[in-house]
């Protein structure tokens, strides 16, 4: 026998609704489309440091590794297995090819509500802000 059945089940329903709100809020109140955004790829280069799927999954690991290597004196140039040589630099190399931060980096980051603090210090050289 459940005491206060009405209050209990009402409270439970409100709780479930609140907890599940990330799932139902957008379809109900949002602009409708919750599909991942299209990013604008660079026009010139066709090949990034790693293949696309790996870059999508682990570009932060690559950036961290490059950071530790460059900043802590391990060197600035990396020779990749396919012979290409690259300067390890976020602003100059990464953003050299992906030269529109708003249309590339920010599109996905905004969609996923990710706010990397790299941009507190590093620039998109074209924006210069």
């Amino acid at each position: 026998m459940i005491y206060d059945k009405g209050k209990i089940f009402l409270g439970l329903a409100i709780f479930v609704a609140l907890v599940a709100s990330p799932f139902w809020y957008n379809p109900v109140f949002g602009t409708g489309s919750s599909a991942p955004p299209e990013v604008k790829l660079p026009a010139k280069e066709k090949q990034c440091v790693l293949p696309r799927a790996e870059m999508r999954a682990s570009h932060m690991q690559v950036i961290y590794d490059w950071r530790e290597t460059v900043v802590r004196g391990g060197g600035r140039t990396v020779r990749l297995p396919d012979g290409r040589e690259m300067k390890m630099s976020l602003s100059n190399t990464c953003l050299g090819c992906h030269d529109n931060k708003k249309q590339f980096c920010d599109t996905c980051h905004g969609y996923l509500a990710v706010r990397p603090f790299c941009w507190d210090c590093h620039f998109d050289p074209k924006e210069q802000v």
Partner: protein, 272 residues
């Protein structure tokens, strides 16, 4: 409080165990990913071609025999421009939050304890260019709790702005006052289009100082201040190269260094 004498576990004990277990389980994957550096670089299969070695030992010689031209600040401007060093114009006392990597101080302040009352006229008031001395035995490196400031094999005392926790122990440790702290957001002291977009700014809450232009050195150039000085009063070079300009100057002329008795072995030499 439960008596704990019952067989098995009471509710309190279960909650304690569950909490600890959850904490441990959560820490495991998070902790693991943090202790695997180099994983991505290894996955790339790439090799770094220009790691810094101890083949060189960088040092600077400042010629004080000739005074800087009146009002000349070319070296300072070059440094601040190259590294986006902020200048705050909205402060009641500009000294408080000032950031300076390279600046000028009167002789008696640069070399306290080495007063020269009867030396040539003008020496004691002469503006001396002072900067981080990139000591051989840097006290700042010794006290940094995270190795955010550390010494490269080629002698340059570096800053890792990503790792710095802003404790300012290095600033207390430096006997030369060479370090500055970002008391506020540096962007407040920079134009919207920064002077050098190829070099990052810093954020508030980290310490910064002269790095002997490590990024220029690694590209084979000289530090910005050395290049900018039209009177050629700043000479930069490799102490391990017996034919370098700095070695020549040091052999030919007597030099003094700042606070030599502290054992730090500063690598900025002043010809007086």
């Amino acid at each position: 409080m439960g008596t704990g004498e019952e067989k098995g576990m009471d509710r309190r004990g279960f909650l304690k165990l569950a909490g600890l277990g959850a904490l441990g389980a959560a820490a495991l994957p998070a902790g693991w990913s943090l202790v695997k550096p180099g994983e991505a670089l290894a996955a790339l299969g790439g090799t770094v071609t220009d790691a810094v070695t101890d083949r060189r030992r960088w040092a600077m010689v400042v010629d004080l025999r000739k005074e800087c031209p009146a009002g000349c600040r070319d070296c300072i401007t070059a440094c601040n421009t190259t590294h986006n060093v902020p200048t705050f114009t909205d402060e009641a006392d500009p000294k408080r939050h000032q950031i300076k990597w390279l600046w000028q101080a009167p002789y008696n302040n640069a070399f306290p304890g080495n007063e020269q009352e009867h030396a040539r006229k003008g020496l004691e008031e002469q503006e001396v260019t002072v900067l981080c001395n990139h000591c051989e035995h840097p006290p700042c490196v010794k006290v940094c709790p995270t190795q955010a400031t550390y010494q490269r094999p080629d002698g340059i005392v570096m800053m890792d702005f990503h790792r710095c926790i802003g404790c300012r122990f290095c600033m207390a440790g430096c006997p030369y006052g060479s370090r500055s702290f970002n008391w506020r957001d540096p962007h407040a002291g920079l134009p919207a289009k920064v002077p050098n977009p190829a070099y990052p700014t810093r954020m508030r809450g980290v310490v910064e100082k002269c790095t002997f232009c490590s990024e220029r050195i690694d590209a084979g150039q000289k530090p910005a201040c050395v290049d900018a000085c039209t009177e050629k009063l700043l000479v930069f070079g490799d102490l391990k190269d017996s034919g370098s300009a700095v070695r020549e100057l040091l052999e030919k002329h007597f030099t003094i260094r700042r606070k030599p008795n502290l054992g730090t072995q500063p690598q900025v030499y002043y010809i007086v």
